[in-house]
């Protein structure tokens, strides 16, 4: 699990890999991976997040959120 960054996918909003899967395709540092039709966060990679926001911009349903744990 990330020490500095937490990446969450809201399952209620997520459209799934078949209808979207944009987060898996776009992330340059492999935060996401597909498990069947479900995108999941690879928690051991969370701290590699570069805050590029590509996943936020590409997700058609706004299901992805990124949290900076050092700002709490």
């Amino acid at each position: 699990m990330g020490t500095f960054i937490r990446v969450k996918i809201d399952a209620q909003k997520c459209l799934g890999i078949k209808k979207s899967g944009e987060c898996v395709k776009i992330c340059p540092v492999n935060i996401f991976e597909a498990h069947g039709d479900v995108p999941l966060v690879i928690t051991e990679n969370e701290d590699e997040c570069t805050l590029c926001r590509l996943c936020l911009e590409k997700c058609p349903s706004g299901a992805v959120s990124i949290h900076k744990l050092y700002e709490k």
Partner: protein, 396 residues
């Protein structure tokens, strides 16, 4: 990565450049020849003949005796594990030829001298007029006529010109094909029969391009190794493995020392500056290293853990110059995460953190959250090093 002479000659031979017949041996019993031979210690250093690493023999018994003496000996701190036994070649002329890079012109550079067997740097100082240098555009390739023009400039002609210029072109092919940083033949000799041989060869390959050339191992038996002349320690080998974890940036180039202040330093020149500054203020570095090119958080973390786990290390200093292609926050994440995973307190373990530059605002937030003493660009590398050494001394 510097190649041994016998490895360099394998590449030359495959490219069609004549080399003296010979074989590399690691045991005297493997030696069996009735020719006049020269026995050459295979070491990653220059000037082997002056240091007794190259000996000429007049018969098999002498060759075996001299090979026996060389094998297992040490020359300039390096163990002789292999020798190359080659037939002696009588020659009437010798030349120096090399392909390297001109860092100013940003082009490959041909260097040619009508005197071989001498140090080109020394010749360039004393007789610069004898050193021919010519760069070329990679995008346009290097043609046979260009090779002939370079060599014919000082009067060589006929079959010798054709043979030597062909070899020069073959050297350029090796240089480009294998991502070399240097391909040198010194000397290239011409015999009475007008045959041409590469008597000695020196090839350096770009470490970062080795992954593109699996045939070096499969075809030529040349395996990737770390370090140059100096054999890396186990600690340094582990650090190199960390740097190989992924392609992102550099978190390595570690040299082990025995001090109590671990260093995560970056930028090549800034690393040297930081290291020297620590020594200047009486600090004792546990290591040298270089990070840069925005290494992954994981690589920085693993390198930090490795260095902090060294016996005797009390604290760590993280010092870089103003960074643009490395992110301050990502380095901070790697360093702090390593310390937390070791069960230590980042504010106690980090003597100083001085990395101004890209994403420094995010980086400073992380440092503030963990109570880490840090400084921005208004504090020099020199001063940061002084503060780090003072902190280690205070708590000793």
């Amino acid at each position: 990565m510097r190649l041994y002479e016998f490895e360099s000659k394998r590449l030359l031979g495959a490219a069609g450049i004549p080399v003296p017949p010979g074989k590399v041996i690691s045991e005297v019993d493997q030696l069996d020849t009735d020719k006049l031979v020269v026995v050459k210690a295979q070491l990653l250093i220059g000037g082997r003949q002056k240091k007794g690493g190259v000996v000429f023999c007049s018969n098999l018994a002498e060759a075996k005796e001299k090979a026996r003496r060389l094998l297992g000996s040490r020359i300039c701190g390096c163990d002789v594990n292999k020798v190359l036994v080659e037939e002696q070649v009588k020659f009437k002329k010798e030349y120096f030829m090399a392909v390297s890079y001109d860092d100013v012109e940003k082009k490959p550079l041909i260097i040619f001298m009508f005197e071989g067997g001498v140090e080109v740097e020394r010749m360039a100082r004393i007789h610069p007029e004898k050193v021919i240098k010519e760069s070329f555009e990679i995008s346009r390739g290097f043609m046979e006529y260009q090779a002939r023009q370079i060599i014919a400039a000082n009067g060589m002609k006929g079959k010798e010109l054709l043979r030597v210029s062909r070899i020069l072109r073959q050297m350029v092919q090796i240089f480009l094909q294998y991502d070399a940083t240097l391909v040198e033949i010194n000397p290239l000799v011409v015999t009475e029969e007008e045959n041409v041989f590469a008597l000695d060869a020196h090839i350096n390959l770009d470490d970062d391009a080795l992954y593109r050339h699996p045939e070096l191992e499969t075809r030529f038996g040349i395996s990737k190794r770390q370090g140059g002349v100096r054999i890396p320690s186990d600690f340094e080998k582990k650090a190199a493995e960390i740097d190989d974890l992924d392609y992102r940036g550099v978190a390595g180039r570690v040299i082990e020392f025995d001090g109590d202040l671990a260093l995560i330093i970056g930028g090549g020149g800034a690393s040297l500056t930081s290291f020297d500054a620590v020594r200047k203020y009486g600090g004792s570095p546990a290591n040298y290293c270089e990070i840069g090119g925005n290494p992954s958080v994981k690589k920085v973390k693993e390198l930090t853990k490795l260095i902090l786990s060294k016996p005797g290390v009390k604290k760590i200093a993280v010092i870089m110059n103003v960074v643009s292609n490395t992110r301050v926050d990502l380095v901070a994440r790697g360093v702090v995460k390593a310390i937390l995973e070791l069960g230590r307190d980042p504010s106690e373990t980090i003597a100083i953190l001085r990395i101004p530059g890209a994403w420094e605002e995010e980086g400073f937030k992380i440092l503030q959250k963990y109570g880490i003493e840090y400084c921005d660009r208004t504090v020099s590398i020199d001063e940061a090093a002084r503060r780090a050494t003072e902190r280690v001394k205070m708590e000793s």
